[in-house]
């Protein structure tokens, strides 16, 4: 097996457009969640979201811009930023083999929502000719491949909230086992259509509005947590073999050392203690390390009743008596739940936490829950606490659990 370096980071997020902006907001607890102002917002029980400030015309020629759903625009911009960050000039031969691994939960749902509004809302037969090409789940990955001429595997993973952790993990497998030398991997999501928000609301999984401070509506691991807040954005990383990265003098952000993947095969929506614990153990096994070597965890930490208590129990199962001494961060309180891009954004935050040796805070955790009694780094970042090795957890509806193990360079 080969060691795998992360040499590029590209971000389009509610907390900023660079790794530095993202980390600064996460460390200082600045929330990207706000009241949502879209057409029809008054029909939502809890009109909240973490949105991205994004002017697509700044990045695309108009003729191209019109062909890309917002999710593809996010993906293409984040991938370009990742390649620029990696200073990774590929030869034609390298592009012929380089891969794209992208997670998305809802694909081009904005396009699909618009199309159905035309068809059912306006009773018009003027279905837009780009509806399929903009709406299909593999469009974001395809456009990244087209933009950079990447002709190796171009794969889209859709395992709901773990999609982009799966994408990064599957890319890692190929790079680690020597079948691929360069991969751009991560996730993109633009789920904030009225139809999507109504559907999520109907599941009773969305947080209610904290009227005193809407930005603090998502409260992972708190007793008064009421659900998740949807977010949008993209996060892509460049993975390459350690030797290749060092040989070309690349800046290495961190090392991806393991990937655990398990499936609950139980309930479609209720998280499984055993499935989550097995995924963390599988990541440790893939990394060939013991649980003793994990210094901190980026939790899935959605802020729903079910996830946070089960994840707490799963961490206790894996780490035993050490569990209360491991700093656990739930950054979704700030950037929202990016669904198919969430794992990738949190993987990046884990890299940055390690790089800066700062355990990121779990914000809005004012009222502890007896069922969630671990160290969630409540409300204030903790310097010197991220250590050297972290897990980044992603658990999904459908039961796909993906955990990435990441190690600092220092």
């Amino acid at each position: 097996m080969r060691r795998v370096a992360v040499t590029g980071i590209g971000i389009v997020s509610p907390l900023g457009h660079t790794a530095a902006e993202l980390f600064d907001a996460a460390r200082n607890g600045r929330s990207g969640v706000h009241r949502l102002d879209i057409a029809g917002a008054e029909r939502l029980t809890a009109p909240l979201a973490a949105t991205v400030q994004f002017d697509s015309s700044a990045f695309f020629e108009p003729a191209r811009e019109r062909l890309l759903d917002r999710v593809s625009q996010f993906a293409v911009v984040a991938a370009a930023r990742a390649f620029a960050d990696a200073r990774c000039e590929l030869t034609d031969h390298e592009r012929g083999h380089a891969g794209v691994f992208l997670g998305t939960g809802m694909g081009g749902t904005l396009t699909v929502d618009d199309g159905y509004q035309t068809l059912y809302g306006e009773h018009s037969d003027r279905t837009h000719p780009m509806m399929i090409l903009k709406g299909m789940h593999n469009a974001p990955a395809a456009w990244i491949g087209i933009e950079h001429g990447l002709r190796g595997p171009n794969l889209t993973y859709s395992t709901a909230c773990s999609s982009s952790s799966v994408a990064i993990g599957e890319a890692w497998l190929r790079v680690a086992y020597g079948t691929l030398d360069v991969a751009v991997a991560g996730g993109a999501e633009a789920p904030l259509s009225l139809g999507s928000l109504k559907a999520w609301g109907a599941m009773h999984t969305l947080a209610s509005v904290d009227t005193a401070d809407p930005a603090s509506s998502c409260k992972p691991f708190a007793k008064n947590r009421s659900g998740l807040v949807l977010g949008e954005g993209a996060a892509l990383v460049i993975l390459e073999p350690w030797e290749r990265a060092t040989a070309r003098g690349a800046t290495i952000h961190g090392e991806l050392i393991g990937y655990g993947l398990t499936t609950d095969a139980g309930h479609i929506a209720r998280p499984s203690l055993d499935g989550q614990a097995a995924a963390m153990r599988a990541a440790l096994a893939a990394a060939c390390i013991s649980s003793q070597e994990i210094d901190a965890i980026n939790a899935h930490g959605t802020g729903t009743q079910a996830n946070d208590s089960v994840e707490t129990a799963a961490i206790k199962l894996v780490f035993g008596e050490r569990a209360p001494r491991i700093p656990i961060s739930a950054t979704k309180a700030l950037h929202g739940h990016l669904l198919g891009a969430g794992g990738a954004l949190e993987f990046v935050l884990s890299l940055l936490a390690l790089k800066n040796n700062v355990a990121l805070p779990t914000m809005h955790l004012k009222i502890p829950d007896p069922e969630c009694d671990l160290d969630y780094v409540p409300n204030v970042a903790r310097g010197g606490a991220a250590g050297r090795t972290m897990l980044s957890n992603s658990f999904a509806f459908g039961g796909t659990n993906a955990v990435l193990a990441v190690r600092a360079v220092h």
């Binding site: 020629e61 003729a63 019109r66 062909l67 003027r126 837009h128 000719p129 780009m130 090409l133």
Partner: protein, 107 residues
């Protein structure tokens, strides 16, 4: 306004193309409107000119080609209004030629 003026106005407004480049012999692909872009352009032209693209293949490579095609369609549909058929403009894959528009699925 002539057909040319109206299509030029659409390309300036929606595609932000420099009006000086919009000559009759300008190739659509050179203007940044490739084969799938043409399908989208024709969809918008249907709205602008209140015509319905028939289920037939046409090769539209230049701005002049588009203008001539629309003029022909408008004349044909004004003299004998066609019952609207399927929505036109489905994109064709590679190998079908730039600017070719068809209503049949490509794959």
């Amino acid at each position: 306004m002539t057909t040319t003026d109206r299509i030029r106005a659409m390309l300036v407004k929606d595609y932000k193309i420099d009006p000086d480049r919009l000559t009759s012999d300008a190739r659509l692909e050179d203007l940044g409107v490739d084969s799938i872009g043409v399908a989208e352009l024709m969809f918008n032209i249907e709205d602008e000119f209140r015509v319905t693209l028939p289920d037939e293949q046409v090769r539209l490579s230049t701005l002049g080609d588009v203008v001539n095609y629309i003029d022909t369609l408008v004349a044909r549909q004004e003299s004998a209004p066609e019952k609207p058929t399927a929505v036109a403009g489905t994109v064709l894959g590679t190998g079908m030629g730039t600017g070719m528009v068809n209503t049949r699925p490509a794959s």
